[in-house]
């Protein structure tokens, strides 16, 4: 290696990043994989005995049926959250970039402000809003819709609202970055060539925002898939999601090896999702880079 100060600096920073990744990502991951092949201790610990029992247990049709149901429910919810975030996040990003003008920075700031409050408190706030005698129902009642009009708290609807609320900023921000880079002249050229507003969006804005859309979807879908706090608080534990299942195995049942095995399965499934996602969008992504 040359003693070039530039190379040296790059190497230093790269090694820091690697150190970070190895201690906080790779090591825990291997730990999880490792204990998924070990035996459960009598009082909840781990016994250093190699076994495939944690995986063979999944072959039990009743258990795997429950897990698959839970997983399906989680994927569906994560998918709905992602779609909802796109549907609201895209117009929001477009508004921030093209219409907000001088207020742009202030509005962007407003998008970030909720992060100053603790995640749990923000989520509990929705309990206050959504509960049967909460704010939302009082407002609806004052419009003459009768008492306790909506029974949304402790249902999947409330979980979806909570997910959407918590993950929207990630989607909006990554779309914002993409839309901001969009050359306005391309939209003008499209208008000049006879494309109306809708056509301009679908033929120019949307295809050129795909990198942001992908990044945003990944940032929403994956955490949403493993989320267990929001279903716990807003779902009231009425419907089980993968995150809850894992949390239960680790914290309540205290069967760490089995929880680890479930985690490994989940990681593999997410990996598969990402791989398929990449496959599907690959052609488009290359066009954008080329």
């Amino acid at each position: 290696m040359t003693r070039n100060p530039q190379t040296f600096r790059v190497a230093t920073f790269a090694s820091l990043a690697w150190l970070w990744a190895s201690f906080l990502v790779i090591a825990p991951l291997f730990y999880v994989i490792a204990i998924s092949f070990l035996k459960r201790g009598t009082y909840g610990g781990i016994e250093p005995v190699l076994t495939l029992e944690n995986y063979t247990r999944l072959a039990d049709p009743y258990l795997s049926g429950t897990i698959l149901m839970t997983l399906g429910r989680s994927v569906w919810l994560a998918f709905l959250s992602t779609v909802l975030c796109i549907l609201v996040g895209f117009p929001l990003a477009l508004f921030l970039v093209f219409k907000a003008g001088r207020a742009r920075n202030a509005l962007f700031f407003l998008l970030i402000i909720p992060f100053w409050t603790n995640f749990l408190i923000r989520t509990y706030a929705w309990v206050v809003i959504l509960s049967d005698n909460g704010w939302l129902n009082s407002v609806l009642e004052s419009f003459g819709l009768g008492p306790e009009f909506l029974h949304w708290l402790f249902t999947p609807k409330a979980v979806l609202i909570g997910m959407f609320y918590n993950y929207l900023p990630y989607m909006a921000m990554s779309l914002y970055v993409s839309v901001e880079k969009l050359d306005v002249h391309l939209l003008e050229a499209a208008a000049d060539l006879g494309a109306g507003p809708l056509k301009r969006f679908f033929k120019v804005t949307l295809p050129l925002s795909i990198p942001g859309l992908i990044a945003g979807s990944i940032m929403v879908f994956i955490p949403a898939l493993g989320e267990f706090v929001i279903p716990d608080i807003l779902g009231g534990g009425t419907s089980l999601f993968v995150g809850n299942l894992l949390a239960q195995e680790f914290l309540t049942v205290r069967n760490w090896p089995f929880g680890a095995a479930l985690s490994v399965i989940l990681i593999l499934m997410i990996g598969l999702c990402l791989y398929l996602f990449e496959k599907v969008t690959k052609g488009k992504g290359e066009d954008l880079i080329a």
Partner: protein, 361 residues
Amino acid sequence: MLEVTGVTKYFSGKTAVSNIDLKVADGEFLSILGPSGCGKTTLLRLIAGLEHPNSGKLHLNGHDITHLSAHKRNVHTVFQRYALFPHMTVFDNIAFGLRCKKMDEIEIKKKVCDGLELANLKGQGHRAISTLSGGEQQRVALIRALVNTPSLLLLDEPLGALDLKLRLQLQHELVAIQKRVKTTFVFVTHDQQEALNMSDRVAVMNNSVIEQLGTPNEIYEFPKTYFVASFVGGINRLDGKLRVDDAGRCICDVESLGSFFMEAGESRTNGVQGGLCIRPEKLTIFSRRPSSDNVLEGVIKAQSYLGTHTQFEICLKNGKILNVFQQNTQKLAKKAYHVADKIFLAWQTNQSHFFADSSLS
């Protein structure tokens, strides 16, 4: 035919375009020439429908298009940086406008292929935009607009980003294409050579208004304002005062240099301060005092031989420096002038221009 009547546009209090009147005939190649910030691009965007005027009217072939959105006008633009869609191939870029019109795909294919041929890009429709050179991008942008057979094609400094050689080549190509398709072209540029070279008529813009509209020859030989004279081609200027003598001839008195005859123009009033302007190539150098009406005495300060002509810097008695171009001939080569030679400059009365100070900018 495009008719622009009394169009004014301002952006947050600043006037970009002020009370513009302009008529462009069918099949004409009109250039809008001016320095950056003069409002020429705004005028173009107003015609394209990308901006809407604060007052005034726009008519295209007799229809009022003042409030029509850009995508509903049969006017297409070649943008300054081309604005080609990076996520589409050359073919899809060119087909964009036709697809917006929901034209039959077979017909689109035929039109795009014809367009590619016109642009010397035959069989290259599959290429990605990023693989095109600057000149190719320029041609794709031109064809993308032309393939829609617009009533009017707008070009916003389309050659600005190219190197000189390519620019000259594309200037010729553009004129050739225009002659072939017979579409009306409105061409915005800050390059006077480009404007003079390509256009049927030139509109010279400055400070949001059109200062002069005429053929390239009219603009160059008979500039109406000092701005036009100085922006299009080189100009020498001597400050002086206008005097009309008993015989009705116009004379410009220049302090410490003498008096010079001028063409009698309209509204020439006695005592007006202004500038006597002569183009460098209209001055002739003599080694002995010629018997001409208008003679200046000076010393050669510098000269440079440029092949077709020699450029001289002549220092006058009052210290003012004049530029003079002399056509090089074999005869001239024999009686070469040298730096520090004392010489005389003469010009014909009708080749000088006088601009009263109020019109100076």
